[in-house]
Amino acid sequence: MKANIVIIGGGISGVSIAYNLAKKGMKDIVVFDDNYMTGGATGRCGAGIRQQWGTLMNCKLAKMSIDFFETAQETLEYHRDVEFKQEGYLVVATTKKEDEISEKNVALQNSVGIPTQKLTPKEALTIVPHLNIDEVVSATFCPTDGHLNPFLMTDAYYQAAKKLGVTFFYEEKVIEIVTKDKQIKKVITEHHEVFTSKVVNVAGGYSREVGLMAGVDIPVFSENHEILVTEPTEKIQGPMVISFSKNIYCQQVPHGSFIMGRSDLQALHNHDIGHTHQFLDEMAKTAVNLLPPLGDLRVVRQWGGSYNITPDRQPIISDTDQCSGYYMGVGFSGHGFMFAPITGILLSEIILEEKPTIDITKLHIDRFKNKNLQSYETNVV
């Protein structure tokens, strides 16, 4: 089998890249994924899409992705409802330092056209009336942040890419990438040998391993982030409520369930995607404290998923001098789903040697050759 390009990873980033390349006329695009569709990080994510970031690059990536999501349903001609909802993110500051940082972030976000506003605790109450403002110093609100169904959004891209001729193999693991003189020659999977000169690594939690297959050293690690979902209830909360100091994100999805998650600050760097009772305990404490009426909701399910994290917690979207024909969209540090539209656009431009829509020098893997990080994303749960 021959291919112009092999995409490793059929999650949201993979289907977005495949769609964008095919739309630009590339033929013989093949996608492999060792799991079922959305079996990896995409299907395990919190389903939120936000633009309230602390670095310029993340703000730009988020803004351009939301611009796409606003018309994704029609653009991709998808026959199901992708459950897009734009009712904002309310970011809650509970320390003085956090309040000061948020001031700077709002200015940064506004500078690229993201309509975030700073709010007093009382103003925050008009947006989320059941918020406990005892510890709240201030809040920021961006009305165009929101929610999308990760399964259906992935399927929408997948169906559109298939119509454009992309070939997908789910449940088929890539075993080896054959290179010669730092050039891609072949990709060997459980059932195929594919001759190709180009490979894209969008393997989410396993992107480091897929890098090493071609001798590419990618400075990322994976860690487990747990999450839970409640039974559905009548609509009481429009926006996602998120706090970096309280370590919580929590939103009511259009279906009625509440989805919430937090970070385990002691999480090990590995591929664990299990679930713990400690998470349930800590999550219940924070959620009921910050959003008291949620105490009456029943938790129906919990799970875990991998964040793939870079040293500056911003993604790597680039080629590399370590191997010619090797491209990557990795290290999204928990936000690959919400950045997927722009990931697809930018990588298709890099691969087809077009001028990228935005300057992405700062997202190149080479930025880590300099040990001093130029920027660091603080806005991560």
């Binding site: 079922y36 569709m37 959305t38 079996g39 299907g43 199901r80 399964f151 259906l152 399927d155 979902v229 409640t230 039974e231 279906h255 679930h275 349930l280 305990d281 800590e282 999550m283 219940a284 404490k285 959620a287 009921v288 949620l294 105490g295 009456d296 909701l297 029943r298 938790v299 129906v300 399910r301 919990q302 799970w303």
Partner: protein, 92 residues
């Protein structure tokens, strides 16, 4: 009885017609069907619908029921209120 009126998943209001449509689209693993239709994601966590879905998949693929993999079982076994979890966490 019309396929529209035969309910497969009572938690999420999924009919036999919905299920057949997704099978015809090419989604034949229970994990995928769950993510598209939400069967098995509701209050009963698939205890009611899973066997029904399994049977339909087996019929569609013309394979024995035993060869259709069920969905992954995740906690909790039954719904528990967040405040009950909180009370228990505070005691221990």
């Amino acid at each position: 009885m019309s396929k529209k009126d035969i309910m497969i998943c009572r938690c999420e209001d999924v009919s036999l017609e919905d299920l057949h449509n997704v099978l015809n689209e090419g989604f034949t693993s229970i994990e995928e069907i769950k993510r598209i239709l939400r069967v098995g994601m509701g209050a009963c966590q698939g205890n009611t619908c899973n066997l029904l879905v399994q049977r339909e998949v087996a019929k569609f693929l013309n394979i024995p029921l035993s060869e259709v993999k069920t969905q992954k079982v995740r906690p909790l076994i039954t719904g528990v209120k967040l405040k009950s979890i909180l009370e228990n966490a505070n005691e221990s």
